[in-house]
């Protein structure tokens, strides 16, 4: 095959403009496609992040109070009564009050410090609140320590900031604060004047938000034994018995309204199962991944079509020369190899430029949008795709060229 490269290069010099255009097109396509692949992979990675929640059986009720003037003790009594009603339902395994839930799409988070005087925070943690049923309701995996005791659960009214003395943290947070793995029994501060002591560790537990600013704090969360009796409203997280999610979701609001009518549970999104919650919170990521996918496919198709078009033109232009070569003894497969090699050379030189452009584009996204640096794997995959695509696109016109009869040499002279 080697012997063919020199004549090909000589021939390409006759088609400078066309060669450059194909190479340029391949370069640009590669630059865009490898970045798109990188974005798709990142976004899909987000989509499959584990929340730690038993998502198949858990749903969330957004319960707003219709009368806002209630005192904290009135709200607390109502919340307790609601929870009893919910837990008594046959389809319900457990329920907890909450001020937020994993994958909610944002919510309460506190800076964490090791000492009360510390100015620069050590890190940041998403804050969950719930009673002693929180761990079981979400189906979290308690890997060390113990659950909250009922007597540890405190009440937090609307205007208050309460720091309970005990806390359960996610393993990621525990390891971040105490890298030696001895977090259990240790204390830290989370924007309060008093310390809070780790009594349990769960793994995993996703944060409430999925925004990119919190990527540095991924998986860092703490749970405080608090009933957040906000006079505006409360979340009830409910875990259905296996296979009874639909029943539980139908019965729960009825039970709540039977308890007390003075509440607002939105008919549209007042009750959401975890499939819906997950779908919603990752909608932007999924949309972006789909868009990148479409762009890549269309781009590759256009580039392939462009290669087919230009190669066909070249074949048409060179019929006479092909005929001469055939008459001089070249076999069909030599002709085929000629065009495939020609395309290979153009593709490779195009991809070299494409790699540079691809990294330049990535650098732009890194500086403009604080995205991550692209690893070489995506570029490698892109190069492979484009070279294969080029060969495939050349195949049809090249086959046509190989079938040119030697007689052509004698024809139009």
């Amino acid at each position: 095959m080697n012997f063919q490269v020199r004549p090909i290069l000589t021939a390409l010099r006759q088609h400078k403009a066309g060669t450059l255009l194909i190479a340029l097109q391949i370069a640009l396509t590669l630059a865009i496609v490898c970045n798109a692949l990188f974005i798709i992979h990142q976004r899909l990675g987000n989509l499959s992040a584990s929340s730690g929640v038993d998502e198949a059986n858990v749903f969330v009720i957004t319960n707003m109070w219709a009368d806002m003037g209630q005192s904290t003790s009135q709200v607390d009594a109502q919340v307790r009564a609601d929870l009893i009603a919910l837990r008594q339902l046959p389809a319900v395994r457990d329920a907890t009050p909450a001020s937020g839930y994993p994958l909610r799409g944002g919510g309460w988070d506190n800076f964490v410090t090791m000492t009360p005087e510390q100015v620069k925070p050590t890190t940041d943690a998403a804050v969950y609140t719930g009673d002693e049923h929180f761990i079981d309701t979400l189906g979290l995996n308690l890997v060390a320590g113990r659950n909250f005791r009922p007597d540890e659960v405190m009440v937090m009214g609307t205007q208050e900031a309460v720091t309970p003395p005990t806390v359960i943290v996610s393993k990621v947070l525990a390891d971040r604060l105490f890298p030696d793995g001895d977090a259990l029994g240790k204390s830290f501060y989370a924007m309060g004047a008093t310390p809070t002591t780790i009594v349990g560790i769960v793994d995993p537990l996703h944060r409430q938000g999925v925004d990119s600013w919190s990527n540095g704090y991924a998986g860092q969360a703490l749970i405080w034994p608090l009933r957040a009796d906000d006079s505006r409203g409360v979340f009830y997280i409910v875990r259905a018995r296996p296979g009874q999610l639909a029943d539980a979701m139908r019965e729960a609001p009825k039970a709540l309204y039977a308890q007390n009518r003075l509440r607002i549970i939105d008919s549209k999104d007042g009750i959401q199962d975890y499939a819906t919650i997950r779908h919603k919170v990752y909608d932007r990521d999924r949309g972006m991944a789909i868009l990148m996918g479409i762009i890549s496919v269309v781009l590759l198709a256009i580039t392939a079509a462009g290669i087919v078009g230009l190669t066909s033109f070249w074949v048409g232009q060179r019929r006479k020369q092909i005929g001469v070569r055939r008459a001089l003894g070249a076999r069909q497969r030599d002709i085929l190899a000629y065009f495939l090699t020609e395309n290979f050379l153009i593709s490779v030189s195009g991809t070299v430029l494409g790699i540079v452009l691809g990294f330049a584009f990535n650098l732009w996204t890194v500086t403009r949008f604080a995205m991550d640096r692209m690893s070489l794997a995506y570029v490698g995959a892109g190069v492979l795709v484009l070279v294969l695509l080029g060969q495939a696109a050349t195949l049809a016109p090249a086959l046509r060229a190989s079938r040119v009869s030697p007689v052509e040499a004698t024809r139009s002279v």
């Binding site: 194909i22 806002m68 924007m191």
Partner: protein
């Protein structure tokens, strides 16, 4: 001459249907993708209050004690209640308003209608004249009502429609959060996008339905929504009323009608900071900013990064489509070297050949542009089906329509230049010889 060129172009395009279709399709896809993303970008980075935004400023001061010790650190994005009221009462700007957002339950009189929550804004009187809100009925309240903690409310057209069927409801009573309010004004459809005056409650499509005097809302301890940043051991977590000294949770806007007034106001902010430092309230040297609406929106990077990224990629896409078209046109024009040679030999100048070939690329541009416009329409329809907060805003306007055509025609003509020029270089005699 143009008619003749058009005729030639159409004949030539018809001769190679697949190639023509490919070129048109590539242009249409490229234009469609870039116009969809560009329109979204254009809509999202638009001026929320054209004609007014230049004189509206967002003062920032820095009352923090320990955080942000580094020089050059931005002051907080909002103000504390104490500073907000001080600046408001100083009255050094042409107009000024202190505000924050929340949500309140509306409790209709008739028991047939369940209570429901709406977004609310707690603000001082100048909000309405300063932002130029249009009223359908009535008007806003005045500064005296602010201080008197008047139980007065302005509602928007949507809520008026829902509660009163669109009738003039001024003077009627409305129960909000267990208190009775008198309606003094009904806004016409007024929804500035982006929601520049408070980006914490969402940047787009977030117009409030209820406007309550700030002092009244504080008095009634109405719920506050949005961002609240505290420092020290001031607070942590959820709550209704924040410490007035160590938490920022209000927005303060001023109207300054000339740039010299803006410079004076900036100096006033510096003086105020120094004064507060002397009083022991502020710990740091004066750290102030005074940005107008568009500067503020740019600073806050209100346009989502994903939208910018998509626009960047879409233009890359268009570039590939154009390079593709250049290549295909080159092939096509060179193949017609014979025709062109004959035309040259018969006396056509290079210029007229060039013109003829450009007309041919122009035809592709126009058809591709129409296709691109249809695709952009489809693309924007898809964007509108998405659940993002700005979905409803994604519409093509006149400017973008013209831009689409200019972009399609301009880029294809540009793409046709090189192939046309190359094809014109054909020496007539050579082509005649080989046939």
């Amino acid at each position: 001459m143009l008619a003749y060129y058009l005729d030639l172009a159409l004949r030539s395009l018809k001769r190679n249907k697949a190639l023509t279709a490919l070129m048109v399709l590539a242009i249409a896809l490229g234009i469609g993708a870039s116009m969809t993303t560009l329109t979204v970008l254009h809509v999202l980075s638009g001026d929320p209050l054209p004609g007014r935004s230049g004189t509206l400023y967002y003062p920032q001061i820095d009352p923090r004690d320990n955080s942000g010790q580094l020089p050059g650190v931005e002051p907080p994005e909002q103000v504390t209640l104490t500073d907000g009221l001080n600046l408001l009462h100083a009255g050094r700007a042409d107009r000024q308003a202190l505000m924050t957002g929340g949500s309140v339950p509306i409790q209709p009189d008739s028991s047939a209608v369940d209570p429901f929550y709406v977004e609310s804004r707690y603000t001082t009187a100048d909000f309405f004249p300063m932002f130029g809100t249009r009223f359908r009925y009535g008007r806003g309240w005045n500064a005296a009502d602010d201080e008197a903690k008047a139980r007065e409310v302005v509602i928007n057209g949507e809520l008026n429609e829902r509660l009163f069927g669109g009738a003039d409801s001024v003077g009627r009573n409305l129960r909000i959060a267990d208190a009775s309010f008198r309606i003094v004004g009904v806004l016409d459809d007024w929804e500035p996008n982006p929601h520049f005056y408070d980006l914490n409650t969402g940047s787009y499509g977030r117009a409030e339905q209820v406007f309550v005097p700030l002092q009244t809302a504080l008095d009634l301890k109405m719920e506050h929504n949005g961002s609240n940043d505290c420092w020290g051991r001031g607070a942590g977590g959820v709550g209704r009323i924040y410490p007035s000294e160590s938490c920022v949770w209000l927005q303060f806007w001023v109207q300054l009608d000339s740039s010299s007034k803006a410079a004076d106001y900036q100096q006033f902010l510096v003086n105020y900071s120094q004064e507060q430092k002397a009083l022991g309230r502020f710990a740091k040297a004066p750290n102030v900013r005074l940005r107008n609406v568009m500067q503020w929106l740019a600073h806050e990077r209100v346009v989502p990064d994903d939208v910018r990224l998509q626009t960047g990629l879409a233009f890359g896409f268009l570039l590939v489509c154009l390079v593709n078209t250049v290549g295909l046109m080159l092939a096509k024009f060179m193949r017609r070297a014979g025709d062109l040679g004959v035309r040259r030999a018969l006396g056509a100048s290079k210029r007229s050949l060039f013109g003829q070939l450009l007309v041919e690329s122009g035809v592709i541009g126009v058809v591709g542009g129409v296709g691109g416009l249809l695709l952009a329409g489809l693309g924007l329809w898809v964007v509108r089906q998405r659940p993002s907060s700005y979905a409803a805003l994604a519409h093509l306007d006149g400017t973008m329509l013209l831009t689409t055509f200019a972009l399609a025609l301009g880029s294809t003509l540009l793409a046709g230049m090189l192939p046309a020029w190359r094809a014109c270089q054909v020496p007539p005699a050579l082509q005649l010889k080989s046939n």
